[in-house]
Structure formats: C-alpha cells, structure tokens
C-alpha cells in the first residue's frame, strides 16, 4: 500500500508538468487550430528564465585574494556578488536563494512577449495551411530555439536550486502510520504540484468567469458567429497564445530545481505532452489536465520493480500503449468534442 501511495505522489508532480504543458498546447489548438510543436521549447525557455535570473542575481565582480592561488598558481580571483554587496550578505544571499520563485515574475512578461512574437511573426502565416505544415514549421522553430539556448548556455545541464527552506523531503509515511522512510516526498515537488493546481485553476477561472474568457470560449465553439457579432476574435486568440506561452513558461520556471535545465528538456516533454493532449481530447482543457495526471501516475506505476519484473520495459512504452488504446476505442480522446480529430 505504501508503494502505491508513493507512486501516486510521484505521478502527481510528473503529471503536473504534463498537464501544464498540455493545457497550453490544447488551448492553442482549441483557439487557433494550430498544432504547436514549439510548445515544449516554451517550457524549456521558462526554465532558462529561472537560470537567467539566477545568473543575473549571481553577477559578480572579482577581488584578488593574495593568500590563495588559482589552478595556474596565480593569485586567486574571488567572485563577490553585487547583490550581496548592495543588500548585505544575509539579505543578498536570501535574494539569490529565492531566484526561482522570483523568476516567476521575471518570466511572465518575457514568455508573453515570446508567445506574441511567435504567433504574429510566424505561426499566423500558417493558419490556413494543413496541420502537417504547421507541425513542420513549429517543430523547426523548436529546434532553432533550443539551438539558440545551447549557443548561449552550452549543452550541459545548469543546476538551479530551490530555496533552502524547500530542500529536503517530507516523511508522509510517519504521518500515515507507516514506518519512517516508507513514503518520502521532496518539499519542492509538493510546491510544484500546488503551483500547478493554482495555475490550472487560474486558467479555468479566467476562461469561465471573465468576459474575455467567455468570448474566447464562444470563439472556440463557433468562431464565425462570434466574428459576425463584430468581435475581433483573432486579437483575443493571439492573447490566448501569449497566455498559453506564459503557462508553459511558468511550468518550466518551477521545474528548474527538479531537474537541472538543459537545452533539450523541451523536446523531452513535448512528445509526451502531445500524447497527453491526444488522449485528453484535442482542444479539451479539462481533458488535457485529466490525461496529464492520469498518464503521469500510470508512468510512475509502470516504473515499479514489481510491474517491470512482469512486463520488462513497460515503463518506456506505457504512455504510448495507453494512447493507442484510447485512440482505437475513442478517437476523440477522453473528453474531446465530437468531430474533432476523429476523421
């Protein structure tokens, strides 16, 4: 039982990332009808927003320490950060320590701007083209973006830690009456799950309870009628592209302490997130969230030794296996609208 609880917890944070990326993907598909294969790259850029802010906060000047030598035997150049010299060692260190949460604010305008430029500059020219063309151009864009990041930051992962207060793990086992160490779970992953729930709730509330959201939902359901009412739905959809980019970016920012960001992380998530969208139903926001968590948890269960001993290699194919079964039995996905992507 403790092993099952443990894998459910593991699946939740993995599912959180899938759900956030898939939410943006399906939002773009539902509004603009574009299959955006560059969405994983937006997740990656979000993570690098955290890296960038961390590097900015760690910007330093050099002081020669005559008492120590560098690797060539010359006097050691000691780096002192501007932040610590401006705000004092304690406050400065605290600001640097909280780089990732601070990067949330830093990333939102950047991600919205990138989303806006991406949509206006490139993707809008492909609205009337077949899905295959859209996939090709957005996939190409994703490769360009990741190569740009690699050119700037290199190919190696860059460690970006969570604030010290969130390092370490919580022993759920003791709380639930199991032995110590039976169910442990890192604090930051709990934060990530809570943050994802907040963002998902925020997006749904925005679409459900604001006039803007109502118009967007109406446009998703019947674009022509909304346009006949004199509403510039294209402008709103462009804004939604920016929102989707920001959601992917935020997912990336908060993911940075979980796994050190590298230029390829977007691609690692993209394919799985696309499968999540298909399983959830193309264009269905609740479907994307449901499928994200469901596949995240299933993937965790498939990694259990007990399962792998019976079905070797199942952890590598489980998501695709489920996708095949869903597509065969319910082509529109779990919560997809009838007629969407069924032909």
């Amino acid at each position: 039982m403790d092993a099952i609880l443990l894998q459910i917890l593991n699946g939740l944070d993995k599912g959180s990332a899938y759900a956030l990326i898939a939410l943006g993907l399906t939002l773009i598909f539902g509004t603009l009808g574009v299959v955006n294969f560059a969405h994983g790259a937006l997740f990656m850029i979000g993570a690098f927003c955290a890296v960038t802010l961390s590097k900015i906060l760690n910007a330093s000047y050099e002081v020669i320490d005559e008492t120590k030598a560098d690797f060539l035997g010359n006097p050691l150049k000691v780096k002192l950060t501007y932040v610590e010299s401006w705000f004092g060692p304690e406050t400065g260190a605290a600001i640097i320590d909280w780089a990732v949460p601070l990067a949330i604010l830093f990333s939102i305008p950047i991600m919205i701007a990138i989303g806006f430029i991406m949509e206006r500059g490139l993707i809008k020219h492909f609205y009337k083209r077949p899905h295959a063309d859209q996939i090709l151009v957005t996939f190409g864009l994703a490769i360009v973006l990741q190569e740009v990041i690699k050119a700037i930051y290199g190919a190696n992962p860059i460690p970006t830690g969570a604030p010290a207060v969130f390092r370490g793990s919580f022993d759920f086992g003791v709380l639930l009456g199991y032995e110590a160490n039976a169910i442990i779970y890192p604090y930051w992953r709990m934060v990530y799950f809570a943050f994802s729930a907040l963002i998902i709730g925020g997006v749904f509330a925005f679409l459900q309870f604001t006039t803007f959201g109502m118009v967007v939902r109406a446009g998703m359901a019947d674009r022509e009628t909304v346009e006949l009412l004199g509403i510039n739905i294209d402008r709103r959809f462009t804004i939604m592209f920016g929102v989707a980019a920001a959601v992917a970016g935020l997912a990336g920012v908060m993911y940075a302490p979980i796994n050190s960001p590298n230029y390829h992380m977007g691609m690692d998530f993209l394919v799985l997130s696309f499968v999540v969208v298909v399983v959830g139903g193309m264009g269905s926001l609740p479907g994307a969230v449901l499928a994200g968590f469901m596949l995240g948890i299933l993937e965790s269960f498939a990694s259990m030794n007990e399962v792998k001993n019976i079905f070797p290699g199942i952890d590598q194919i489980i998501i695709y296996l489920v996708a095949i079964i869903i597509i065969l039995t319910r082509p529109r996905g779990l919560m997809g609208r009838k007629g969407v992507m069924e032909d």
């Binding site: 060539l72 190919a155 190696n156 460690p159 030794n305």
Partner: protein, 448 residues
C-alpha cells in the same frame, strides 16, 4: 642518305616508355607491400577528430577539440610543448610527425553511432584522414572502432568507459587510453570498504545500454567480493529525465547504498533526484545512507551542482594532480583557454601524442606498423604515472583516481578532490577475464 628513323626525341620517348614499362611491375609490387589507406604523400598529414559537436555531450566534445588543437600545436612545434616535455619517449621533436606538418579535420558524432560512423567515413574517404580519434560514448566508440578496422586506419578512442570497447568489441586497429568499468570497480571497492564497511546493501540504478550494463556488472562484482549484498539492480531508460519513480522505492528496499551507473544528463538528473528525496540525510539499517557515482566527470559534476558534495566516484585524471606532467598540461591548456582541462581533454591529448610517437618510433604511418609500436608500449610522463598499452587487448593500464565531490570548492572548476590514487597493479586484470570475453582483436588491417 640515311633512312634511319631514330631521332633524339624518339629515343627519349621510347626509353621513357620502356623504362616505365619495366618499372611498372616493381611499382605495383612495391605498392602492394607498403600501401595503406591514406598514405600521406605531401608535406602534411591529416588526423580526423571525431567528437560530439552537437547533442548532449557537446561541451565535452568542445573540450576534446580544444585538447586536440593544443596537441596539434605542440606536435608542430608551437606553444610550450605541454606534455611533450614530460613524456618519457623522446621521439617527438616538434617538427610534426615524421617531418610532415600535422593538419586535422573534424567530424560531429552527435553521440549517435550512425552519425559518428558517417562522419568518420567522410574524414577517411574525402579528407584523407590517416587516423581517427575521439568520441564521448562507448556506443559511438565501438561503432567507429569497427569502421576504422574495416577501412584500415588506426582508431585512438576518446572517452569510452565500457568494458566492451577493449573486451568483446576490441579490434586490432583500435586503442584505448581511458580506463574502464572494471577498473572503476577495482579502484573504488577498497575505498568504499574503508569508508562504509563490509556489511552494506547496495541498490543499483543502471542506464540501459552497453556502458551501463558493464559498469553495473563490474561494480557488483567488486562490492560483492567485499561482502556487500546487492538488493536490486534496476535498468532505467537512457532517455529518462525524471528518476523519481526509480528512486522513491530505494529507501523501502532495505538498501543503504545507492549506486548510480549513470553518466551525462542521466547522472545529473538521477543524483539531483536522489538528493531531493533526502536519501543522503537518511539512516537505514542503523547506518548513514550513501550514494556512489562510479564514473565521475568534472563537466557533469558541474551540472549536478551542490549535489555532488561528499559523493565518491572514480575518474581517469584530474587537473589538480601535482605530478610534473599534469602540471605541464594544465599550464599549457589553462594559459591557452583560461580554465583547466577535463579528463576528456586529457585522454584525447594523450592519445594524439601516443599516436604521433608510435608513428615516429615505427618510422611509418602504416597502421600495422603503428599498432606494433603501440602494443606493449610502456611509457610515463603523461599524467597517469607508469602506463602500459597492453598488446593483448589494446587497453592502457595505469593508476585510477578515486575522487569525492568537494565540500568547499574554491572555484567553479574545483568540484572534485582526489582521495586515492589506486595503483595500476590493483586495477589490472588478465586479458582473458570473463568480463572481457567474447571477442578477439583479429588481424591488423592496413587498408588498400
């Protein structure tokens, strides 16, 4: 009136043709006796540096390229000479190789076997590379080594740690300076015993490909010989990025040591995840829980950040070594590039010098002559102490370093500290050791 048709011009033509005709069989005979692939005929010789310039190991590839460029500079008489000054063999004199200026071409392996073979093939066939060297993965090394064997050129492997490279996949034209999984296990075991004792339960997470399998086998054999029990060995997909679902069951398994048979991005992520799950702060079976990373790389340690602190592993070489050769190489590399070299840079620099030296001693670029000069070659002064290039499997036998993630680094390069230099004798194994069985060198191939 003479009707003679002999003229001076006609005589010259006839004699030239006759001479050529008579000499023809000799040219062919001579050619078949000495010809080999890409025999350098001009004033220069071309080496092929096949490294990952794109993909996940691009940073290691870039460091390898820097070291290759430095080696070429030194071979051609430029710079301060680096380890050429400390190398025990004094055959190299800074005039290139056998008087020919050293030039090079580069290829991008992308850390993919097919791409690596394609770029090596192109360098051999189009650019006339006489020797191929490089790589940052065992899968790539094995693939390119096979190609070089077929093409008849020497392959000087770069960073490849799988037992198979000089085990079941060894080739007569291939040579490895880097250490291997068996050596890591043999070097680490005594240190692990002194640190953690004989009564331990180990849990292995292993990258699911050739290098991971052989490393797991090696570490298991070494630690079980100490008396450790292997609780479980779980294979993880090479493409995995989040290892939480593999790490979460570890504490529940009764294990008190986690061995991460991962490299590159896998190592960075699995170690980061293990530390996040608080494994290092836990006590199991009344003992502190420990993590071991058998193959360390400074570039990868940088990616894992603070998580490497106090974690033990092994490495082929480290820039902080204080022998004259290491100091000379660090000075030379550091002055040129502004930071110390990685172990990948060190091994490829050594390989380039060793190849050039072997050609010079053999007096020929012919692969079989070079291979003969390398086989059984004993040398020193390249940063690893006294070293033997064993004839039976073309593997270098030298000291292996056991390192630990440094608690208080003084710079971004100062991430590992050497805790033990394990003597070569302790990591040497018989050529017919079962872990290396299943292949043979075959015959050296000079190509056409």
């Amino acid at each position: 009136m003479s009707n003679s048709k002999f003229t001076r011009r006609g005589l010259l033509k006839t004699s030239t043709l006759a001479g050529a005709g008579l000499a023809l069989p000799t040219i062919f005979t001579g050619a078949s006796a000495h010809a080999f692939t890409n025999d350098p005929t001009g004033g220069s010789v071309t080496l092929g540096f096949n490294v990952p310039q794109t993909g996940p190991y691009a940073d290691e590839g870039a460091d390898e390229l820097r070291a290759y460029e430095l080696a070429v500079e030194h071979l051609n008489g430029g710079g301060d000479g680096g380890m050429m000054n400390t190398f025990s063999s004094k055959a190299l004199d800074g005039t290139g190789i056998l008087g020919k200026k050293v030039e090079y071409v580069t290829g991008d392996t992308q850390t993919k076997s097919d791409a690596a073979r394609a770029s090596a093939k192109s360098m051999i066939e189009k650019d006339g590379a006489i020797m191929i060297t490089g790589g940052s993965s065992s899968g790539v090394a094995v693939a390119v080594q096979g190609l070089c064997q077929e093409a008849g050129v020497i392959f000087m492997a770069g960073l490849t740690h799988s037992n198979d490279t000089t085990g079941k996949d060894k080739k007569a034209n291939g040579f490895r300076h880097f250490f291997n999984g068996y050596m890591s296990g043999a070097a680490l075991a005594p240190v692990l015993e002194s640190l953690y004792g004989k009564d331990r339960n180990a849990y292995h997470l292993t990258a699911d490909y050739t290098w991971g399998w052989t490393q797991e086998e090696s570490i298991k054999a070494s630690t079980e010989a100490l008396g450790w029990n292997t609780v479980n060995a779980v294979r993880t997909p090479l493409a995995a990025t989040d290892f939480s679902s593999y790490i979460a069951p570890v504490l529940n398994s009764g294990a008190d040591v986690l061995v991460l048979n991962h490299y590159g991005g896998n190592m960075v992520n699995s170690l980061t995840n293990a530390v996040q799950f608080g494994l290092r702060d836990k006590q199991v079976n009344g003992k502190n829980f420990e993590i071991v990373v058998p193959l360390y790389s400074r570039l990868m340690a940088k990616g894992a950040g603070e998580n490497v602190k106090g974690i033990h592993g092994s490495t082929n070489w480290h820039w902080s070594l204080q022998d004259e050769a290491s100091k000379a190489f660090v000075k030379s590399f550091g002055t040129k590039y502004g930071f110390p070299p990685s172990q990948a840079a060190h091994t490829v620099y050594c390989q380039t010098l060793l190849y050039a030296d072997a050609v010079t001693r053999a007096g020929s670029f012919a692969p079989c002559a070079v291979a003969e000069a390398l086989e059984g070659f004993e040398f020193d002064g390249l940063g690893n102490g006294a070293t033997l290039y064993r004839a039976e499997d073309h593997q270098c036998f030298k000291d292996v370093l056991v390192v630990r993630g440094k608690e208080n680094p003084t710079s971004e390069f100062d991430l590992l500290e050497v805790v033990e230099v394990t003597p070569a004798a302790q990591v040497t194994y018989p050529a017919d050791h079962p872990m290396f069985a299943g292949g043979s060198l075959g015959s050296c191939n000079n190509g056409a």
